[in-house]
């Protein structure tokens, strides 16, 4: 392909560069802007007078004496106790990832090694389940959960998210296990292992790349969820995303919007770090289902 690049006419090159530049700005600039603005006061970030205030920080200078202020972060994390929401999110996300992967590896391994017709039907069923809008499922949970008094507790939201996550996890791990040669565990069974021992001693040590990739997507699903956490958790057990949504309900008072801005930036930071370190896995995970299947 390298020779093709040299032959490209100059005008086309310019078009490509301008296009990529536009896309990169569209994709990245909003985050940069919001991060910058989160250190200003509301009068600057949402400036009635002149939007350039957000850059120069005129009101921030007047109100706080410096060009940057951490007031938004202080208000969100301390005054509005965003830290409890962050803690809840951490508990939920870690539990969802660990449980989904445990159930998913067992199930995905069985589906990859079964070779029977019903395994295929189960995969089709999982596909149907994956297509269900989450809110339709939630409207089925609410009434029973109220009746059984398990509404509003973290474990309830965790198990629900594990279940919603299962179809995707099963599909992904199933395709990863198909790539691990059958001979590996079958020869272990010839040597006298039971199926489970073969799985534990031979498959588990080599499955980690696939499990990590799948885990990333489970993490994203749990972390980014709004539907389940907003409807199944109460005030005391709120996670970050519904908490941010609840900030918006009280934006009338000056400065509260900046709490939401600061909280949004805080909640985006872990995702940035995740993409930075796991870009390769995310890309390979996205393409695993499409290019091979």
């Amino acid at each position: 392909m390298s020779e093709l690049i040299h032959r490209r006419p100059k005008s086309l090159n310019i078009v490509i560069w301008v296009f990529v530049l536009c896309w990169v700005v569209a994709a990245g600039f909003p985050f940069l802007w919001t991060m910058w603005g989160s250190f200003k006061v509301q009068g600057d970030f949402f400036s009635k007078a002149d939007w350039t205030y957000a850059i120069s920080g005129v009101r921030t200078q007047i109100e706080t004496g410096g060009a940057f202020t951490g007031d938004g972060y202080f208000g969100a994390w301390v005054t509005k106790s965003f830290w409890t929401a962050a803690l809840n999110t951490m508990i939920v996300v870690i539990s969802v990832v660990v449980i989904s992967l445990t159930l998913g590896t067992l199930g995905g391994y069985a589906l990859a090694r079964s070779g029977k017709k019903y395994a295929f039907y189960l995969l089709m069923l999982a596909l149907v389940f994956r297509a269900m809008p989450h809110i339709t499922l939630v409207s089925g949970y609410l009434l029973p959960f109220f009746e059984w008094n398990i509404w509003g507790h973290l474990p309830t939201a965790i198990i629900v998210m594990v279940a919603i996550n299962q179809p995707f996890t099963l599909w992904m791990l199933h395709s990863f296990f198909l790539n691990i040669p059958k001979d590996l565990d079958e020869s272990a069974m010839v040597d006298g292992c039971t199926r489970f021992q073969a799985f534990r001693r031979v498959i588990v040590p080599v499955m980690w790349p696939g499990v990590i990739t799948t885990g990333l997507f489970s993490f994203l699903l749990a972390y980014n969820d709004f539907t389940v956490t907003a409807t199944l958790l109460g005030q005391s057990s709120q996670t970050m995303v519904p908490k941010i949504a609840s900030f918006l309900g009280t934006t009338q008072t000056e400065g509260n919007v900046m709490f939401a801005v600061a909280a949004v930036v805080s909640a985006t930071a872990p995702l940035f770090i995740l993409v930075m370190f796991f870009q390769r896995q995310i890309v390979s995970g996205l393409t695993a289902g499409a290019v091979k299947g």
């Binding site: 909003p30 603005g37 949402f46 400036s47 297509a131 409207s139 980014n224 939401a260 949004v264 290019v291």
Partner: protein, 343 residues
């Protein structure tokens, strides 16, 4: 693998899916056939200085007892489906007979909450999906021809809109597009109209939501097309070049046909995902001019006026029917791909 072993391996996963996906679908249907209890009234004799009279009063004890005994509510058959907030059968038929033109009938139908949500959901689904495929394809072609050193960082930035929480992503755009934010203010300046506000106009709100949808999903299409571009056989392209195909012809007749299966894959996944559009409506506070099916279910459940399980259930069942229609081609494709192949 033996059936027994298979069973034990799949059991935990299967149980969670059955309990929390299959059962709720059933329970949603049962809920949709019921409706909230009306309050129990009783007759009380109310005596004052001007004599006694009979009055109807709410019997609080009996009402709460009834709610406790039968939390589902009372059986309503398909009544909820037919009422004004859902399929609105009678409203539609009156509108049909009374409307002079089809356009009037459509605008009458658009005033009904369910059809209003359906209109937005379908518009969103069928506009965002092709736009995502097109934009993703263009980005993939462009990024693929960049020098190697720049590709990595470009992919990193490109992933951000997809990876970010949908609610947070829509909030970030919403704040910029606010009339006091950077984009909103710039638009006012460009059009020299200080009263221009994207929030005030329904059309602009729809456009804004669709732009958000494309922004959010384009990276997904881009990554998949980008991976697909790496598998285009170089010999075929070279052969086309020797035959005198121009750059455009090579893209149109070699690269594009090679990527058709990926286009189908992305389109099918996107149709299903866009049909459940919900978070951006909350993030953009757009409910005044745009609602979606998912949003009206959410509003029934947690809208602040109590929970209407029957109403939410009916909309959910109708939504699931919609999903089923979109799902048929997906199932068909998977079926065909896997048939004959050992699972």
């Amino acid at each position: 693998m033996k059936n027994r072993t298979f069973f034990w391996f799949i059991l935990p996963s299967l149980v969670t899916m059955m309990l929390f996906i299959a059962l709720p679908i059933g329970s949603v249907f049962i809920q949709s056939l019921h409706i909230e209890h009306t309050t129990v009234l009783k007759e009380v004799k109310n005596c004052g200085p001007f004599g006694c009279k009979l009055e109807m009063q709410v019997d609080v004890d009996a009402t709460s007892q009834l709610k406790k005994d039968r939390p589902l509510g009372k059986f309503n058959g398909f009544g909820t489906y037919k009422n004004r907030n859902h399929l609105a059968v009678s409203e539609l038929s009156t509108a049909w007979t009374n409307s002079p033109t089809f356009g009037v009938f459509l605008s009458e139908a658009y005033n009904l909450p369910f059809y209003r949500a359906l209109a937005f959901t379908l518009t969103y689904t069928f506009l965002v999906t092709p736009l995502v495929v097109m934009l993703g394809f263009c980005i993939a072609l462009a990024v693929n021809s960049l020098p190697k050193r720049i590709k990595g960082p470009t992919i990193f930035v490109s992933l951000l809109p997809m990876i970010v929480t949908p609610l947070i992503g829509s909030l970030i755009l919403f704040w910029m597009i606010d009339s006091e934010g950077i984009l909103g203010a710039s638009l006012q300046w460009i059009f020299e109209d200080p009263s221009l506000s994207l929030k005030a106009s329904p059309t602009l709100t729809w456009a804004m939501l669709i732009v958000y949808g494309v922004w959010h999903s384009a990276p997904f299409a881009f990554i998949i097309f980008y991976a697909g571009l790496q598998t285009v056989p170089a010999e075929t392209i070279e052969a086309a070049m020797i035959d005198g195909a121009s750059r455009w012809e090579r893209t149109r007749y070699v690269i594009l046909p090679h990527l058709v299966p990926l286009i189908v894959f992305i389109a099918l996944i996107q149709l299903m995902d866009n049909f459940r559009v919900f978070e951006p409506i909350v993030g953009f506070s757009a409910q005044a001019s745009a609602t979606s099916l998912s949003w009206i279910i959410f509003n029934d459940l947690a809208g602040g006026e109590g929970s209407f399980f029957g109403s939410a259930g009916a909309t959910s069942v109708l939504t699931i029917l919609g999903v089923a229609v979109l799902l048929i081609p997906v199932l068909f494709r998977t079926w065909r791909d896997f048939k004959g192949k050992v699972v």
